[in-house]
Structure formats: structure tokens, C-alpha cells
Symmetry: C2
Subunit: 406 residues, 2 copies
């Protein structure tokens, strides 16, 4: 019997009526002859409500206990969904993270899954039960409750699908699928029918919010076919799967834009060994995640180093750099929040030449200055002034004809 | 180091301010040099809120999943209390029912505790941590979440105290202790300083709401000294403990009143063997709990049987009796909700004679008719018309001089 894992986010289970909709959707898949596992998030707003309660007590709540607190959110949802399915005449059974168990490390608030034993779930499936798993949560080796951080329920769903070797993992969300770019930026944005894990991974890293990086990584590693679709209609979603020959036809699959980064420029630095190492070790020690790094070639023994970090970490980043300034004798250290990173992504870039040139000249034609460039095999990112962000997205979407289906 | 278990009910942890009060109370006991274990209930109203959510889906929610749902209530409270204590500089650690584990049978909604391993808690205590346990919940042998039913958190506290051989178990509630009778009925009601387990058990069975029967049974079996006191002041509470010589001085310790029972009378029954057995087996099979039973001596081969059951079960009880009526050929089957059971309780009854006579004549003087009588070694209960209930309590409280301290 085919096995399908379905994941429903907070808005899809936001009240009892929506939970009933989810139950009907699950039941209809079950009636079609599938084994069903459902992963759900906390009801919309509930996780924030709980975190706010804790923050009223102290701005820095104990991390272990914060996970104990917020993990109640999904526990409520699984129970309500199971009660609904049981009242409809289906046999359902819920699993909290510790009951599966979703075994994680002990990094409270951002734990990583390292094992999902399948035995208990397989027994329940064999008895015809619909399994409902609390997303976002796990348990460490010492029986402490952990949570997985942002997008955790997606990761739970993919991890469960991988463990059970599910035939399909459907991620239900509030959009119809993965788009060529953010439909709020251009009405020409088109839903992508099929996309490779690698492309999806780059998109998630570059600011597309539809799927979280870890979930895509997990799906790619265990080859779990993912479908992203809306819980509010029956439109076909986007299939995220292994690269296949019919995907190669386009050079660029999507355009993304991220305005949540900031740039730090350290200019007039002595060009001596160990400078970059010193700077980026100091940032790493303080858990500031550096994205792009550019170092210009040296002139007269001096060089400039620029890099981007999350906007929220700008103050911290500047403080760290200024704290070690004497070591590299910089002429200037500047921070700038007024940037946007615009990226094009596509497996096809590997075989098409001239993609980068086409991108740069499209931006140049509109007078958009490129401040930093970073490339990988399947993406090109440019940092520009933030005010040009939406314009750049529209231009690139047009230039690469992303509105046209293959 | 002395070990104290403290239990705080829903009103004592009803909001963040009250949780902070509880934290201060726990901390002050810790500062006095005690090892501390705290058991808490869900915040006032939370359990009802969750049950109502489930009941909106279906009047009869799946029992396993209802326990999954409502057990989130205490999980929220333990986390908030731990976060508060940690923010005050104390080391605290929470335990959900499954983490202790509080091992129970699988009777969802009314599970019985049969084991509380102490090893994990002892390790945390040895490291100086304040342990916070979610009351009301446990886990069965198959890792299903269970709840203990009414008064479950009291039982959790006593069970944890028994497992750890605590020096004291303090039950904090919204009253100052155990009273000679309900202070709402007579202003002469007096707080009892010290009471024996057996007396407390009778009081709990007979309608006193301050402690639940199972918690008292557990305390008696494992000889856990219990103190019942208010979480809103520092008044000394009531010590519930083993019988001691200084308790024997009074014949009667307390008067209770229960108006939540109903009476069924089956009159003109054939007086043949097996009738009572047939009736009470049928009731037991339907989980109707019978309290008092009276059978009058036979006249002309006919007899009358009266018994009391919970008021909520009256309809069910009558239906069952009428369903098997042909077997015993009754002349009449009547139900009556208009009754009250008034009881006097005291270990001293065993040695004083004339206590029963004193009770009956006090009621007779006021023209209160006694419909049923039931006695044990340490209590006498009379069923009377409900309208006389409060009057009877006041009379008996006066006659046995319960307002006077020993």
C-alpha cells in the first residue's frame, strides 16, 4: 500500500474548522487506499503566545524549559486532529516527538534530528491507523524535550517520510507551490511544476520562504519526493525531486531576493596573512553567520574586505570587528543595511554559458550598480542597493523568460 | 538534607504573578536548607478550556487523545515555573509525567499510579536542582500519556513524596486547611490542627473537597505526612498524619454533608435469594457506584430495598432497575434526588459510646426525619431531606462542640 506523509502548517490548522478540513483531506487520501502519516504544527499564533508568556518572565528564558513550553503547541494540534478523525470513524493515533521518538541532539531551540526509529509507526500503520505526529519537536538522548527551530515541522515531516520510505511527502502551506519568484513582486511569477532538490536548496538559502533549508537537505539526502501545495485548494503543487532530463531545458529556474542582510566593509586593511582568518574566526565564535565574502586585490599593501551577515546581527558584527581593529589597522569599518541580494538559480547554468553576462548586462541597462557578486555552480547572486531590489527581480524574471512554461 | 514536596493547584498558578509567588515560596524553603520537589496543576481554567475544545468536535472525544490534549496544561505550568526560578538564579528542572516516569495503568482519564521510579529525580536533587513535576499526568507501560482524573495533582504529589521518602508533603490550596465542617455552612467551623489519615479518608469520601480520596489513600499507605494549607497566606495548615494519642480526646472530629447523591427505592420486592445480587451486579456492570444500601426486614414475603448513587447516575440507575424488574417483581421503583447525606466522623467513636444516639436525638429534636443510616467504625451517616441539610450540619457541629479546640 502506498504510504503518504502529509504536513500541515499553523495556518492550515488555525482553528477547529480548519482542522476539520485537514481531517477530510487526510481521510480522502486514506480512502484512496494509502497508508497515511500526518505531521502538524501548532495552531497559528500559539507558539508566539507561549514564547511571549516566557518572555514576560525574563528576556532570556531557560532554553530547555522554553522547549518544554512551546512543544505543547503541536501536542494540542495532534490531539484535536486525532479526535476529529476518530469522530469521523477513522482509527487515528498521535505521537509526540518523544513517542516516535524523533531523536535529536540537545541544541534546545535548534536541535538536529539524527534518528527516527520506524518500528512503532509501522505497527500502527499495519493495524490500519492514521498516524499523527507532532512536528517541530524531538527528544534528546537524555529524554529532554527539544525543538527544531524555524521550519521544524517541515523537517519533521521529511524525516518521518525518509524513515518510513514514504512514496510521497506533501507539504501543505498557504501558497500554491514554489514560484519562479515572489508573486508579490511581479504578477508574471509562475508556479514551477517540478524542481530539483539542489535548486530548491539554493532557493531556500537565498530567501524563498516556502520551504526551509534543513527540510530540503533531508529530502535530498534520503531522496524523499516532496510536493509543496496549498491546504486551501486542490491545485497541483510543485514537485521537488531528483534532477531529471526534462529539467535541463531552462538555464534559469527562479529569481530570489533577500533584503534581510547587511554588509560590513573593512577598508584599507594591511594586506598580511591571517587578517581574514582573524576577522571571520571572531565572527564565527560569536555565532554570526557570514554569507558572501569579497576581498579586492591588494594595492600598495592595503586591501578592502566586504562581507554580508544577517541584518539583525549588524550591530554585533560591527562591535566584533571594531574590537579587533588594532590587529589589522583598518582605515575604516562601515556597516550598511541598505542592500538587497538578488539571485538567479538553475541547474541549467552548468551547461549554458553566458548566463552571468546576461544577468549583469540586464542590471546595467537599468543603471543598477552591482556591489558584490557571488556564484556557485547553479546560482549567481548580486548585492545591490535595496531600492532597486524589486526592479531587479522583475527585470531578471523578464530577461530569462521565467513567465513562460517549458 | 530534609526533602519537601510542595503541590500547588490551578488557582495558585493561575497567572504569571501567582507563579512568581509560588516561585518565591519554593525558593524560601530551598534557602532554609531543604531539597525541593514541586508538583503543579494546569493554570486555572486551562484544563476546562482544552476539554471544551475537544467537546466542540464531538461529545465523546477519543479518551487516549483527550489525555494527550489536557496533559499540555501542566506542561505549560511546569515550564513557566522553572523559567521563573531560573530567572531568580535557582537551578530548576521540569519533569512531565512520562519523564519521571509516573507509571500508571492505561485507564485514560482516571489512571492509577503503580510505580514512581526515583533514580532520575534523586540525581537532580543531588546536583542541587529544584525539581518541578507536572501533576495529574502519567504514562502507561506502552508509552501512552495518561491522566489521573479529579484531584490527580494531589495524588501525583503524594506519590512522588512516597517514592522519594519525603519528610513532608505540603498541599497548597485556596483554603487554610481542613475544617470541622464547611465554613460556608456555619461560621463556627474551626480549622483542625491535626487529623488522622483514616478520618481524612472518610471526610474525603463523604463530600469534603479539600483533599481527594486517592491522594489520602496513597499518603496513608506510604505514611507520607501531609500538610494542607493556603497558597495565599502563611497560616499554619492542617497536618494529616498517623493516629496518635493526642487525637483520641474528641469523639467527633468533623461533620460533612453531601447533596450530590440520589436515592432509589425498590419496594414490594419478593424476598427470595439472589435479588440484591441481581440488582447490584447490574449496576456495577454499568459502572454505577452504589454508596449506602438498606434492606428492611421482610414482612409477608415482601421486602423494600433502598440505595444511594451519584445524582448524575440517577437516570441510568432507574433504567437499569426497570430493565430487570420482571426478575424480582417489584411493586414500585422510585428515584429521589431530594436527599442529603450528613455524616459525623471521628476516631474517638471507637471508644466513646452513645455517639450515634446523640446524633439521632439531636436531629429528632429539630423534627428532621432520618431516611437511611449507615455506620462504620469511625463515622455515622444519615440520609435526610435536602432542605434540612445545612440545619443538620449546624446542629451536629454544636452538639459535638466542634467549635471548641481541644
Amino acid at each position: 500500500m502506498p504510504l503518504i506523509v502529509q504536513k500541515f502548517g499553523g495556518t492550515s490548522v488555525g482553528d477547529l474548522e480548519r482542522i476539520a478540513n485537514v481531517a477530510r483531506r487526510v481521510a480522502s487520501r486514506k480512502e484512496q487506499g494509502n497508508d497515511m502519516v500526518v505531521v502538524v504544527s501548532a495552531m497559528a499564533g500559539e507558539t508566539d503566545r507561549l514564547i511571549n508568556l516566557a518572555k514576560k518572565i525574563t528576556p532570556a528564558p531557560n532554553e530547555r524549559e522554553l522547549d518544554v513550553l512551546v512543544s505543547t503547541g503541536e501536542q494540542v494540534t495532534v490531539a484535536l486532529l486525532a479526535i476529529t478523525l476518530e469522530s469521523m470513524g477513522y482509527r487515528a493515533v498521535t505521537y509526540c516527538g518523544w513517542q516516535v521518538p524523533i531523536v535529536t541532539d540537545d541544541a534546545y531551540g535548534a536541535a538536529r534530528i539524527y534518528d527516527v526509529p520506524k518500528e512503532a509507526m509501522e505497527r500502527d500503520l499495519a493495524e490500519g491507523r492514521i498516524i499523527i505526529v507532532a512536528g517541530f519537536q524531538g527528544v534528546d538522548g537524555k529524554r529532554n524535550i527539544t525543538t527544531l527551530g524555524r521550519g521544524g515541522s517541515d523537517t519533521s515531516a521529511v524525516a518521518v517520510a525518509a524513515a518510513l520510505k514514504a512514496d510521497l511527502c506533501e507539504i501543505f502551506t498557504d501558497v500554491d507551490g514554489v514560484y519562479t519568484t515572489d508573486p508579490h513582486i511581479t504578477g508574471k511569477a509562475r508556479k514551477i511544476g517540478k524542481i530539483a532538490y539542489e535548486e530548491m536548496l539554493e532557493m531556500a538559502s537565498l530567501g524563498a520562504k516556502v520551504l526551509y533549508i534543513r527540510a530540503v537537505e533531508f529530502a535530498m539526502r534520503y531522496k524523499v519526493p516532496l510536493v509543496v501545495r496549498s491546504s486551501f485548494n486542490d491545485h497541483e503543487g510543485t514537485l521537488v525531486t531528483e534532477e531529471s532530463s526534462d529539467m535541463e531545458k531552462e538555464s534559469v529556474r527562479a529569481v530570489t531576493c533577500n533584503t534581510k542582510e547587511a554588509k560590513i566593509t573593512i577598508s584599507g586593511v594591511e594586506d598580511k596573512p591571517g587578517v581574514a582568518s582573524r576577522i571571520f574566526s571572531a565572527l564565527a565564535d560569536s555565532h554570526v553567520v557570514v554569507d558572501m565574502i569579497i576581498q579586492n586585490s591588494s594595492a600598495e599593501g592595503k586591501t578592502d574586505i566586504s562581507f554580508t551577515i544577517p541584518e539583525v546581527d549588524l550591530g554585533k558584527g560591527l562591535e566584533i570587528c571594531r574590537g579587533i581593529e588594532e590587529y589589522f589597522q583598518a582605515e575604516n569599518i562601515n556597516g550598511c543595511e541598505d542592500i538587497a541580494k538578488v539571485s538567479i538559480i538553475g541547474l541549467g547554468m552548468r551547461s549554458y554559458s553566458g548566463v552571468a553576462a546576461k544577468m549583469f548586462s540586464a542590471l546595467a541597462r537599468e543603471g543598477i550598480n552591482i556591489e558584490m557578486i557571488s556564484t556557485s555552480e547553479i546560482k549567481i547572486s548580486c548585492v545591490i542597493r535595496q531600492k532597486y531590489a524589486e526592479l531587479a527581480v522583475r527585470i531578471l524574471h523578464d530577461v530569462f523568460e521565467l513567465d513562460k512554461a517549458t
